[in-house]
Symmetry: C2
Subunit: 134 residues, 2 copies
DNA sequence: TAAATTTGCTTGCGTTTTGCAAGTGCAAAT
DNA sequence: ATTTGCACTTGCAAAACGCAAGCAAATTTA
């Protein structure tokens, strides 16, 4: 299942081996916007990921230390997923994706607002966001 | 074949719809390091992409204006692939991937050298690289 | 306290994508 | 004229995906 076989020593390639698919970074995105999510929260996202795909991606990301499971404070039936430091470190990357998309797609209004903040002072935005996520 | 069906209006999602797979960014990488490549050049890369996958990714990237075909100055049998402005604009993203990988993988020496330059002055590195690619 | 619901998955199964090998058509070199 | 090089295409088995249904444990409701 979550077997990481590196195709090469190239850092781009090694990174793609972990999150180079259509879903993994959407999970990371959800965690960056929400700080923590349950399994059900991910399923509620606009893109409608299938349950088995979600399970396999969560496992893959956990095995590669991008996310961690935690027990939910209110219920044993629920599981909380959070970003690890390694996951939080994907923030600059996510921001660059947003900036690229901002140039070539039409962004939803809420994201435009965030992007304006990023454009004003990228480093400051990243710093404050990291604190928020810890 | 190269049908872009957006899963949502989210910029991350829309971006992944284009290059969110294990191979597309490796093609972009090759073009950023080499400025221009032939079909055969891509095949020589360490990761050993299959010919049919390469063809489908090149088509997808061309349809989404990330790369362009040009005729080779020396031969009609060869085809030159280059990054478009949209493709060149992926440079900051590629750099962030490198920086992330630098923290969590062991990079090959040549890349470490480049990364040192990036860390000294990221914007300057990007600026000079863009000029190089145009 | 028994039944129904919620939650986080797993399983089956048909469809799509991938990966490998071989083949094709055109250009260029021999 | 024939062989080689280059850019793909094709066939096919294997893997991954996507949808729906199922399931066990925890929690809520009656």
């Amino acid at each position: 299942m979550g077997n990481l076989k590196k195709r090469s020593e190239c850092p781009i390639s090694s990174s793609l081996d972990i999150w180079g698919d259509k879903w993994s970074l959407l999970i990371v995105r959800d965690l960056m916007f929400s700080k923590q999510c349950t399994y059900g929260d991910f399923l509620k996202s606009e893109e409608k990921i299938a349950t088995n795909i979600l399970a396999s991606r969560l496992q893959m990301l956990e095995e590669n230390d991008v996310i961690t499971k935690q027990e939910h404070p209110e219920s044993k039936a629920k599981v909380l997923y959070k970003l690890t430091q390694k996951g939080i470190d994907l923030l600059p990357l996510m921001i660059e994706i947003n900036l690229w998309a901002d140039k070539y797609f039409t962004l939803p209004p809420e994201r435009r607002v965030m992007l304006e903040e990023v454009k004003k002072d990228k480093d400051a935005f990243i710093a404050s966001k990291i604190i928020e996520l810890l």
